[in-house]
Amino acid sequence: MSSGLTPLPENLVLALEQHQGDPVAAAATMIDIPLYRSAGEFPVEQGYIWTSLSSTENGNPLFWDPAVANELTDGPIAPPSMISVWFRPHNWAPGRAEVALPLQVHFDLKTLFGLPEAVMTDNTITFHEPVRPGDLLTTHQVLRSVSEPKTTKLGSGRFWVIEVIYENQRGDLVGVESYTGFGYKREAAS
Protein backbone atom coordinates (compact mmCIF):
# COMPACT_ATOMS: atom_id res chain seq x y z
CA MET A 1 0.00 0.00 0.00
CA SER A 2 1.34 3.44 -0.85
CA SER A 3 1.97 6.07 1.81
CA GLY A 4 -0.73 8.34 0.38
CA LEU A 5 1.86 11.11 0.18
CA THR A 6 3.15 12.92 -2.90
CA PRO A 7 6.70 14.22 -3.41
CA LEU A 8 7.43 17.66 -1.96
CA PRO A 9 7.98 20.45 -4.50
CA GLU A 10 11.45 21.94 -4.68
CA ASN A 11 10.53 25.16 -2.87
CA LEU A 12 9.40 23.20 0.18
CA VAL A 13 12.42 20.92 0.11
CA LEU A 14 14.58 24.06 0.23
CA ALA A 15 12.42 25.61 2.95
CA LEU A 16 12.80 22.48 5.06
CA GLU A 17 16.57 22.57 4.62
CA GLN A 18 16.71 26.25 5.55
CA HIS A 19 14.69 25.59 8.71
CA GLN A 20 16.57 22.51 9.88
CA GLY A 21 13.74 20.16 8.96
CA ASP A 22 11.07 22.08 10.90
CA PRO A 23 7.82 21.55 8.94
CA VAL A 24 5.99 24.34 10.79
CA ALA A 25 8.61 26.89 9.75
CA ALA A 26 8.65 25.50 6.21
CA ALA A 27 4.84 25.79 5.97
CA ALA A 28 5.08 29.39 7.20
CA THR A 29 7.07 30.28 4.07
CA MET A 30 4.00 29.40 1.98
CA ILE A 31 1.44 31.51 3.83
CA ASP A 32 -0.22 34.32 1.81
CA ILE A 33 1.97 33.58 -1.22
CA PRO A 34 0.23 32.96 -4.59
CA LEU A 35 1.14 29.40 -5.61
CA TYR A 36 0.46 27.06 -8.49
CA ARG A 37 -0.83 29.55 -11.03
CA SER A 38 -2.39 27.55 -13.80
CA ALA A 39 -4.94 27.59 -16.56
CA GLY A 40 -7.71 25.08 -16.94
CA GLU A 41 -6.92 22.17 -19.24
CA PHE A 42 -10.02 22.82 -21.34
CA PRO A 43 -12.59 25.57 -21.93
CA VAL A 44 -15.81 25.54 -19.96
CA GLU A 45 -18.12 23.21 -21.83
CA GLN A 46 -21.86 22.76 -22.05
CA GLY A 47 -21.74 18.97 -21.88
CA TYR A 48 -20.19 18.98 -18.43
CA ILE A 49 -22.77 21.53 -17.30
CA TRP A 50 -25.58 19.17 -18.26
CA THR A 51 -23.78 16.20 -16.65
CA SER A 52 -23.55 18.11 -13.38
CA LEU A 53 -27.18 19.18 -13.55
CA SER A 54 -28.12 15.58 -14.25
CA SER A 55 -26.17 14.36 -11.22
CA THR A 56 -28.31 16.52 -8.96
CA GLU A 57 -31.52 16.36 -11.01
CA ASN A 58 -31.40 20.15 -11.22
CA GLY A 59 -34.06 21.39 -13.64
CA ASN A 60 -33.33 25.11 -13.31
CA PRO A 61 -34.42 26.46 -16.75
CA LEU A 62 -31.60 28.99 -16.67
CA PHE A 63 -29.28 26.10 -17.57
CA TRP A 64 -31.56 24.14 -19.88
CA ASP A 65 -33.63 26.70 -21.80
CA PRO A 66 -31.64 29.03 -24.10
CA ALA A 67 -34.46 31.59 -24.11
CA VAL A 68 -34.33 31.87 -20.30
CA ALA A 69 -30.54 32.11 -20.40
CA ASN A 70 -30.73 34.85 -23.03
CA GLU A 71 -33.23 36.83 -20.98
CA LEU A 72 -31.53 36.48 -17.58
CA THR A 73 -27.82 36.17 -18.29
CA ASP A 74 -27.37 37.27 -21.92
CA GLY A 75 -26.61 33.69 -22.93
CA PRO A 76 -25.75 30.40 -21.28
CA ILE A 77 -23.76 30.25 -18.05
CA ALA A 78 -22.48 27.45 -15.86
CA PRO A 79 -24.00 26.77 -12.45
CA PRO A 80 -21.88 28.78 -10.02
CA SER A 81 -21.19 25.76 -7.82
CA MET A 82 -19.28 24.13 -10.70
CA ILE A 83 -16.43 26.60 -10.37
CA SER A 84 -13.83 24.06 -9.25
CA VAL A 85 -14.80 21.58 -11.95
CA TRP A 86 -13.02 23.58 -14.65
CA PHE A 87 -9.66 23.06 -12.94
CA ARG A 88 -9.73 19.44 -12.08
CA PRO A 89 -7.08 17.88 -14.30
CA HIS A 90 -7.59 14.90 -16.53
CA ASN A 91 -6.81 11.65 -14.74
CA TRP A 92 -4.37 10.89 -17.54
CA ALA A 93 -2.85 12.96 -20.32
CA PRO A 94 -0.16 12.17 -22.93
CA GLY A 95 3.34 12.64 -21.61
CA ARG A 96 2.36 13.06 -18.00
CA ALA A 97 4.10 10.63 -15.67
CA GLU A 98 1.86 11.11 -12.65
CA VAL A 99 -1.71 12.07 -11.97
CA ALA A 100 -1.82 15.80 -11.42
CA LEU A 101 -3.65 16.80 -8.25
CA PRO A 102 -6.06 19.67 -7.78
CA LEU A 103 -5.51 21.71 -4.63
CA GLN A 104 -1.82 20.83 -4.70
CA VAL A 105 -1.07 22.90 -1.57
CA HIS A 106 -3.26 20.49 0.38
CA PHE A 107 -1.18 17.54 -0.78
CA ASP A 108 2.06 19.43 -0.15
CA LEU A 109 1.01 19.96 3.46
CA LYS A 110 0.11 16.30 3.90
CA THR A 111 3.61 15.36 2.80
CA LEU A 112 5.31 18.15 4.73
CA PHE A 113 3.71 17.05 8.00
CA GLY A 114 3.75 13.32 7.20
CA LEU A 115 -0.04 13.00 7.39
CA PRO A 116 -1.19 10.30 4.96
CA GLU A 117 -4.94 10.84 5.31
CA ALA A 118 -6.97 14.00 4.90
CA VAL A 119 -10.52 15.26 4.71
CA MET A 120 -12.03 18.62 3.87
CA THR A 121 -14.15 19.95 6.72
CA ASP A 122 -15.28 23.45 5.69
CA ASN A 123 -15.75 24.97 2.27
CA THR A 124 -16.77 28.56 1.46
CA ILE A 125 -17.33 29.66 -2.12
CA THR A 126 -17.89 33.29 -3.10
CA PHE A 127 -19.23 33.83 -6.60
CA HIS A 128 -18.50 36.83 -8.81
CA GLU A 129 -18.71 37.11 -12.61
CA PRO A 130 -20.71 34.24 -14.14
CA VAL A 131 -18.72 31.52 -15.89
CA ARG A 132 -19.78 30.87 -19.49
CA PRO A 133 -19.23 28.03 -21.95
CA GLY A 134 -16.02 28.76 -23.85
CA ASP A 135 -14.36 30.58 -20.95
CA LEU A 136 -10.84 29.47 -20.12
CA LEU A 137 -10.25 30.09 -16.45
CA THR A 138 -7.02 30.56 -14.56
CA THR A 139 -6.41 29.92 -10.91
CA HIS A 140 -3.92 30.18 -8.13
CA GLN A 141 -3.82 28.83 -4.60
CA VAL A 142 -2.98 30.66 -1.37
CA LEU A 143 -2.29 28.99 1.97
CA ARG A 144 -3.87 31.16 4.68
CA SER A 145 -3.14 29.24 7.89
CA VAL A 146 -1.97 26.00 9.51
CA SER A 147 -3.20 25.02 12.98
CA GLU A 148 -1.39 23.66 15.96
CA PRO A 149 -1.60 19.85 16.31
CA LYS A 150 -5.17 18.64 16.91
CA THR A 151 -6.80 15.29 17.68
CA THR A 152 -10.26 14.41 16.35
CA LYS A 153 -12.21 11.16 16.10
CA LEU A 154 -10.43 10.55 12.79
CA GLY A 155 -6.93 10.80 14.21
CA SER A 156 -4.19 13.30 15.05
CA GLY A 157 -3.04 15.98 12.67
CA ARG A 158 -3.46 19.61 11.69
CA PHE A 159 -6.09 21.81 10.10
CA TRP A 160 -5.19 24.20 7.29
CA VAL A 161 -7.04 26.83 5.26
CA ILE A 162 -6.36 27.18 1.54
CA GLU A 163 -7.95 29.70 -0.84
CA VAL A 164 -8.33 29.09 -4.54
CA ILE A 165 -8.81 32.24 -6.63
CA TYR A 166 -10.45 31.90 -10.04
CA GLU A 167 -10.33 34.41 -12.92
CA ASN A 168 -11.57 34.31 -16.50
CA GLN A 169 -9.58 34.99 -19.66
CA ARG A 170 -10.39 38.72 -19.36
CA GLY A 171 -8.94 38.89 -15.84
CA ASP A 172 -12.35 39.17 -14.17
CA LEU A 173 -12.64 37.56 -10.76
CA VAL A 174 -15.16 34.76 -11.05
CA GLY A 175 -14.85 33.20 -7.64
CA VAL A 176 -12.92 32.49 -4.49
CA GLU A 177 -13.04 29.13 -2.82
CA SER A 178 -11.79 28.62 0.71
CA TYR A 179 -11.15 25.11 2.00
CA THR A 180 -10.41 23.92 5.51
CA GLY A 181 -8.59 20.62 5.37
CA PHE A 182 -7.62 18.23 8.15
CA GLY A 183 -4.56 16.08 7.49
CA TYR A 184 -4.21 13.24 9.94
CA LYS A 185 -2.80 9.89 10.93
CA ARG A 186 -5.33 7.28 11.91
CA GLU A 187 -5.02 6.16 15.52
CA ALA A 188 -3.60 2.64 15.93
CA ALA A 189 -6.23 0.10 17.01
CA SER A 190 -5.96 -0.67 20.71
Binding site: Y48, T56, A67, V85, N123, I125, T126, P130
Partner: protein, 159 residues
Protein backbone atom coordinates in the same frame (compact mmCIF):
# COMPACT_ATOMS: atom_id res chain seq x y z
CA UNK B 1 -41.82 35.07 -21.59
CA UNK B 2 -42.82 34.76 -17.94
CA UNK B 3 -40.17 33.05 -15.87
CA UNK B 4 -41.25 31.86 -12.42
CA UNK B 5 -39.57 33.88 -9.72
CA UNK B 6 -39.72 34.78 -6.08
CA UNK B 7 -39.29 38.44 -5.16
CA UNK B 8 -37.31 39.67 -2.17
CA UNK B 9 -40.39 40.92 -0.33
CA UNK B 10 -41.88 37.42 -0.50
CA UNK B 11 -39.05 36.06 1.63
CA UNK B 12 -39.04 36.73 5.37
CA UNK B 13 -36.86 35.81 8.30
CA UNK B 14 -37.97 32.54 9.87
CA UNK B 15 -39.46 31.21 6.66
CA UNK B 16 -38.95 27.48 6.18
CA UNK B 17 -38.05 26.02 2.81
CA UNK B 18 -39.79 22.85 1.58
CA UNK B 19 -37.66 19.80 2.34
CA UNK B 20 -36.02 17.83 -0.45
CA UNK B 21 -35.55 14.10 0.04
CA UNK B 22 -33.39 11.90 -2.19
CA UNK B 23 -32.40 8.23 -2.11
CA UNK B 24 -28.65 7.96 -2.56
CA UNK B 25 -27.25 5.06 -4.55
CA UNK B 26 -23.72 4.15 -5.62
CA UNK B 27 -24.63 5.70 -8.96
CA UNK B 28 -25.48 8.98 -7.21
CA UNK B 29 -22.04 9.04 -5.61
CA UNK B 30 -20.09 7.98 -8.69
CA UNK B 31 -22.04 10.22 -11.07
CA UNK B 32 -21.51 13.13 -8.70
CA UNK B 33 -17.77 12.46 -8.54
CA UNK B 34 -17.43 12.17 -12.31
CA UNK B 35 -19.61 15.23 -12.92
CA UNK B 36 -17.18 17.19 -10.77
CA UNK B 37 -14.12 15.54 -12.33
CA UNK B 38 -13.11 14.08 -8.99
CA UNK B 39 -11.22 10.88 -9.74
CA UNK B 40 -10.16 10.15 -6.18
CA UNK B 41 -10.87 6.51 -5.33
CA UNK B 42 -12.84 7.07 -2.15
CA UNK B 43 -15.69 8.30 -4.34
CA UNK B 44 -15.86 5.24 -6.60
CA UNK B 45 -13.81 2.40 -5.03
CA UNK B 46 -15.46 0.86 -1.99
CA UNK B 47 -12.38 -1.19 -1.08
CA UNK B 48 -10.25 1.95 -0.97
CA UNK B 49 -12.90 3.89 0.97
CA UNK B 50 -13.23 1.17 3.60
CA UNK B 51 -9.65 0.04 3.97
CA UNK B 52 -7.76 3.29 3.39
CA UNK B 53 -10.17 5.97 4.53
CA UNK B 54 -11.85 3.93 7.25
CA UNK B 55 -15.34 4.82 6.05
CA UNK B 56 -18.21 2.37 5.59
CA UNK B 57 -18.50 2.89 1.84
CA UNK B 58 -17.81 5.36 -0.97
CA UNK B 59 -19.24 8.77 -0.12
CA UNK B 60 -20.58 11.91 -1.78
CA UNK B 61 -17.77 14.34 -2.58
CA UNK B 62 -17.58 17.98 -1.55
CA UNK B 63 -18.10 19.69 -4.94
CA UNK B 64 -21.15 17.56 -5.67
CA UNK B 65 -22.61 18.46 -2.28
CA UNK B 66 -22.18 22.09 -3.33
CA UNK B 67 -24.12 21.32 -6.50
CA UNK B 68 -26.89 19.69 -4.47
CA UNK B 69 -27.13 22.73 -2.20
CA UNK B 70 -27.29 25.01 -5.25
CA UNK B 71 -30.10 22.92 -6.71
CA UNK B 72 -31.97 23.06 -3.38
CA UNK B 73 -31.62 26.85 -3.20
CA UNK B 74 -32.68 27.57 -6.74
CA UNK B 75 -35.63 25.18 -6.45
CA UNK B 76 -36.78 27.76 -3.88
CA UNK B 77 -35.76 31.01 -5.57
CA UNK B 78 -36.32 30.18 -9.22
CA UNK B 79 -33.79 31.07 -11.90
CA UNK B 80 -33.60 34.75 -10.93
CA UNK B 81 -32.00 33.77 -7.62
CA UNK B 82 -28.26 34.36 -7.85
CA UNK B 83 -26.03 32.56 -5.39
CA UNK B 84 -23.50 34.93 -3.85
CA UNK B 85 -21.82 32.85 -1.22
CA UNK B 86 -22.11 29.47 0.40
CA UNK B 87 -20.24 28.04 3.34
CA UNK B 88 -20.63 24.46 4.30
CA UNK B 89 -19.27 22.20 6.96
CA UNK B 90 -19.26 18.45 6.69
CA UNK B 91 -19.91 16.58 9.91
CA UNK B 92 -20.44 13.15 8.43
CA UNK B 93 -20.48 11.38 5.10
CA UNK B 94 -23.34 10.51 2.77
CA UNK B 95 -23.25 6.88 1.64
CA UNK B 96 -25.16 4.71 -0.83
CA UNK B 97 -28.35 3.52 0.85
CA UNK B 98 -28.83 6.79 2.72
CA UNK B 99 -31.90 8.95 2.22
CA UNK B 100 -30.52 12.45 2.29
CA UNK B 101 -32.86 15.26 3.28
CA UNK B 102 -32.23 18.93 2.60
CA UNK B 103 -33.97 21.48 4.79
CA UNK B 104 -33.54 25.19 5.30
CA UNK B 105 -34.68 28.37 7.01
CA UNK B 106 -34.34 32.03 6.15
CA UNK B 107 -32.16 33.55 8.85
CA UNK B 108 -32.38 37.12 7.62
CA UNK B 109 -32.94 39.48 4.73
CA UNK B 110 -31.19 42.69 3.82
CA UNK B 111 -30.63 45.18 1.03
CA UNK B 112 -27.04 46.27 0.58
CA UNK B 113 -25.79 49.77 -0.25
CA UNK B 114 -25.83 48.91 -3.96
CA UNK B 115 -29.55 48.15 -3.76
CA UNK B 116 -29.18 44.40 -4.07
CA UNK B 117 -31.63 42.36 -1.98
CA UNK B 118 -30.25 39.33 -0.17
CA UNK B 119 -31.69 36.38 1.69
CA UNK B 120 -29.46 34.58 4.16
CA UNK B 121 -30.31 30.96 4.74
CA UNK B 122 -29.27 28.17 7.09
CA UNK B 123 -29.36 24.81 5.35
CA UNK B 124 -29.01 21.28 6.62
CA UNK B 125 -28.30 18.00 4.90
CA UNK B 126 -29.30 15.12 7.15
CA UNK B 127 -29.74 11.35 7.09
CA UNK B 128 -32.18 9.69 9.50
CA UNK B 129 -32.28 12.92 11.48
CA UNK B 130 -28.49 13.05 11.85
CA UNK B 131 -26.97 16.23 10.49
CA UNK B 132 -24.29 15.39 7.93
CA UNK B 133 -23.60 18.84 6.48
CA UNK B 134 -24.64 22.33 7.47
CA UNK B 135 -24.49 25.30 5.15
CA UNK B 136 -25.00 29.04 5.23
CA UNK B 137 -25.97 30.62 1.94
CA UNK B 138 -26.43 34.17 0.71
CA UNK B 139 -28.66 34.52 -2.31
CA UNK B 140 -29.58 37.66 -4.26
CA UNK B 141 -33.24 38.04 -5.18
CA UNK B 142 -35.02 40.48 -7.49
CA UNK B 143 -36.61 43.41 -5.69
CA UNK B 144 -39.23 43.99 -8.40
CA UNK B 145 -40.52 42.24 -11.49
CA UNK B 146 -38.02 44.27 -13.52
CA UNK B 147 -34.99 43.64 -11.32
CA UNK B 148 -32.44 40.99 -12.27
CA UNK B 149 -29.56 40.19 -9.88
CA UNK B 150 -27.65 38.50 -12.71
CA UNK B 151 -27.13 41.87 -14.37
CA UNK B 152 -25.13 43.20 -11.42
CA UNK B 153 -21.45 43.71 -12.13
CA UNK B 154 -18.43 45.18 -10.38
CA UNK B 155 -19.26 47.25 -7.32
CA UNK B 156 -22.97 46.57 -7.76
CA UNK B 157 -22.31 42.90 -6.88
CA UNK B 158 -21.18 42.41 -3.29
CA UNK B 159 -21.53 38.75 -2.39
Amino acid sequence: MTIPRILADQVVEGQTLPALSYEVTATTVVLGALATRDWRPMHHDKDFAVNRNGTQDIFLNTPNQAAWFERYLTDFTGPHGRLGRITFRMKGSIFPGDTMVFSGDVTGTETDDAGCAWANLALTLSVNGDTKTTAAARVALPTTIDDNPWHRRGDAWRP
